[in-house]
């Protein structure tokens, strides 16, 4: 293995490959900032370029750089304009956007950059050491466990149910789950709930829904309420990237835990960065002390660091099944697999033995890529954050433009725009009534995976037998129940105690 690492090092640090990493990261970051162009589309665009390069390690390094850059760039639009372009950065906007609203955009971007860097780097180290061993662990998960894992992912909604809104949060989750059933599911060959509208046959698009729930209501709110447009802090603070010593101390353990947890979730094919980010958020909120828990969703640096380190570590983790088993764990890695095959590289257990220079060069350039991203982005943050200092009569059209473009660009389907505006207005009304919108999106994202895996497990076991037959499923479900119930139980006990005090007994 040591020999392999040396070959990889010399290959990764060749001038061409360094240029590839830097170029890939730059392209990824800037295109990734536009909502609607996630890592998957950017990588598809770059594949012909990568194939013309010819050298498989250089091509893969370029694509890996683009992948990281895109994820990194995606969190920028989540934080600045509440427009998560990729499912895995939805959780980033939960606390990132409130921070930006408080005038701490610079700080939020810095926290995100550092968490991403640590998540990606720790992930790369774990990948280097444990890749072959983890490949077998990934195969322990059957449909039943994936179903249970999605349930655990759903428990992230508890974070929004904390402030006496349990019923509202559950209702919104249900609504999200219902919306996920629209269209042709993976299990039936007939369209469901499309009301005869052809454009609904493939279901609601993620980007459309994310923009309708987050970005569009935000823009409408800015129009309706002029006082909101002013960020609460001074404009100097927007550019201020400094993280205080206390904050650094608070986020360090979060990053450590979530990098490892995120990586492990990323290793599972099909779970990926989205689940990792939601779970990371839920877990960190649950184990935080009570007073910090209140801060989650209102601009907690911990709440920002958790999903950012988790989703980057998970992206690295998703290379484990790709490189060792040849199984793509996500849409993005499926495209990467296609590129590998086009370059005459067969991923799988033999890759490490047959072509160690490719295997190790990729892993080492992941590390280099993370470093490059950090170095490139830290100096740019003050300029990127300045977006928010733009006067609101320019900012609103800007947000609206990117929101609408994001929904249109992936599918070239103008009906998406109508759906987006319709849903966006509904979402704004719901926000007026104080319903949290994030649970809806979580329900929607997890809904189809939840249903598919549940139905598969039911089919394989001819019923609910898998609950008893597979102890890991049961354990995960119990964990999910605890994650949801514990906070409300704690809140209830605290309330009872308060009542008791005021009664004077």
């Amino acid at each position: 293995m040591f020999e392999g690492i040396m070959i990889g090092l010399s290959s990764a640090f060749s001038l061409t490959n360094l240029m590839m990493v830097i170029g890939g990261c730059l392209i990824g970051t800037f295109i990734g900032m536009l909502p609607g162009l996630g890592p998957m589309s950017i990588i598809s665009i770059m594949i012909p370029v990568a194939i013309t390069i010819g050298d498989p390690s250089a091509a893969l390094i370029l694509l890996a750089g683009v992948y990281y850059g895109a994820i990194f760039g995606g969190s920028t639009s989540s934080i600045l304009i509440n427009a998560p372009g990729v499912a895995s950065t939805v959780a980033t906007s939960f606390d990132g956007y409130p921070l930006a609203r408080q005038g701490k955009a610079g700080k939020a971007l810095t926290v995100a950059a550092i968490s991403s860097f640590c998540g990606g780097s720790i992930g790369a180290v774990l990948l280097m050491i444990f890749a072959p061993a983890l490949a077998t662990v990934a195969l322990l998960f059957h449909s039943a466990e994936y179903f249970a894992l999605m349930v655990v992912g759903l428990s992230a909604i508890a974070a929004f149910a904390g402030t006496g809104q349990v019923v509202k949060a559950l209702l919104m989750t249900l609504l999200g789950l219902i919306m996920a059933t629209v269209g042709e599911g993976a299990l039936f060959n007939m369209p469901r709930f499309t009301m005869g509208i052809m454009d609904l046959q493939s279901g609601f698009g993620f980007i459309t829904l994310a923009m309708a729930m987050f970005a569009l209501p935000e823009a409408l709110y800015l129009v309706l309420d002029p006082s909101r447009s002013k960020t609460e802090g001074g404009s100097n603070e927007i550019k201020d990237l400094r993280i205080t010593r206390d904050e650094a101390r608070a986020i360090a353990p979060v990053i450590g835990r979530q990098s490892i947890q995120g990586f492990l979730i990323g290793v599972l094919p099909g779970a990926g960065a989205t689940i990792a980010s939601f779970l990371g958020y839920a877990v960190e909120r649950n184990i935080a002390p009570k007073e910090e828990q209140e801060q989650f969703g209102k601009g907690s640096v911990k709440g920002l660091a958790a999903p950012e380190s988790a989703n980057n570590a998970a992206c690295t983790g998703s290379f484990v099944p790709l490189l060792t088993l040849g199984i793509p764990g996500s849409g993005t890695t499926a495209i990467l697999l296609g590129a590998l095959i086009a370059l005459n590289v067969s991923p799988g257990p033999r890759l490490m033995i047959d072509e160690p220079q490719i295997f190790w060069a990729v892993i080492i350039s992941m590390y280099v890529g993370n470093l490059v991203l950090l170095v490139l982005n830290l100096p740019l943050i003050p300029y990127i954050a300045k977006v928010l200092a733009v006067p609101r009569n320019y900012l609103i059209p800007f947000i609206l433009f990117f929101t609408l473009m994001g929904a249109y660009i992936g599918q070239n389907n103008a009906t998406e725009l109508l759906i987006l505006v319709g849903l966006g207005i509904c979402a704004t009304l719901l926000r007026f009534a104080d319903y949290p919108l994030a649970p809806l999106l979580i329900g929607f994202i997890l809904g189809s995976m939840l249903e598919d895996n549940f139905a598969r497990a039911m089919q394989l076991y001819d019923g609910m037998g898998f609950l008893l037959d597979r102890p890991m499923t049961l354990a995960l479900l119990v964990l999910a129940a605890l994650l949801v119930l514990l906070p409300s139980y704690r809140a209830r006990r605290a309330r009872l105690r308060q009542v008791g005090v005021s009664d004077g007994d």
Partner: protein, 326 residues
Amino acid sequence: MTFTLTRRALMAAATATLALGTPALAEDSKLDSIHFLIPGGAGGGWDGTARGTGEALTKAGLVGTASFENMSGGGGGKAIGYLIENADSNHGTLMVNSTPIVIRSLTGVFPHNFRDLTMVAGTIGDYATFVVGKDSPINSMADLIAAYKTDPRGTAIGGGSVPGGMDHLVAAMVMKAAGENPTQVKYIPYDAGGMAMAALLSGEIAALSTGFSEAVDLANAGEVKIIGVTSDQRVPAYADAMTMKEQGIDTTFVNWRGFFAAPGLPEERKAAYQAAIAKMYDTPEWEEVRARNGWVNIHNSGDDFEKFLEGQEEAIKSLMQELGFL
């Protein structure tokens, strides 16, 4: 939007000029442009086929320029509807499609079928296969059928399509030809090839019904064993794999991809498209695109294409009726 309209208008104008100005379009004259209509989003199989074909045609100098338009919606039905409704202005358009157009017309996902379009040519295809994990005790179709006979409920077959979709139909077709009742076969759908592969390797399913080119990549990587191919003869790309026919299972299946044009397309225009596509196969530019994507050349032009589609529709229809999907 304006851009597209203008471009389309220009193209229609160009087409009209061609049709009016040179009624006797010479056989070997070069096509000025082709507009490819892709019924799905960027990055899918249809997208790759259209863009790859366009690239080969233009680079080889058979067509002047190629433009591409993604029109997703309705599982491909939106683009078909568009092409039929705007047939007169779309003589310069070729729409890519594949086996699902046959299946989805049958299930009524969209109201049209391939007969409503001008069938230009089937260009590439992929056979279907059954694969098992490398450590599986199953080594041939006979082993799989034996395992199925001992434990029908525990021997599930997975695939990357919905029940009633292509992978399921192939699984049912093969099991039926092997003398089993296709409605009893436990088919487990996965939404992507990767998930289905993971399920195969983790032992959740006993065998996987999947495309040949995908299976070859995995077999070369040492992950799976191919136990049966739905081709007539062994495929040179992986000659170790036995066909279904060799093992006494008399069934063949090709998942084709090809091109359609608007209904009422002038004959000479159709002939020009078919000539360009036929010439494309001999160019190194096409060979490069084909090899890069692992496609198999299966060329079916004009009437052959129509006959092939009708045969496939018939086979799929009776199978779906038997399975209770129609």
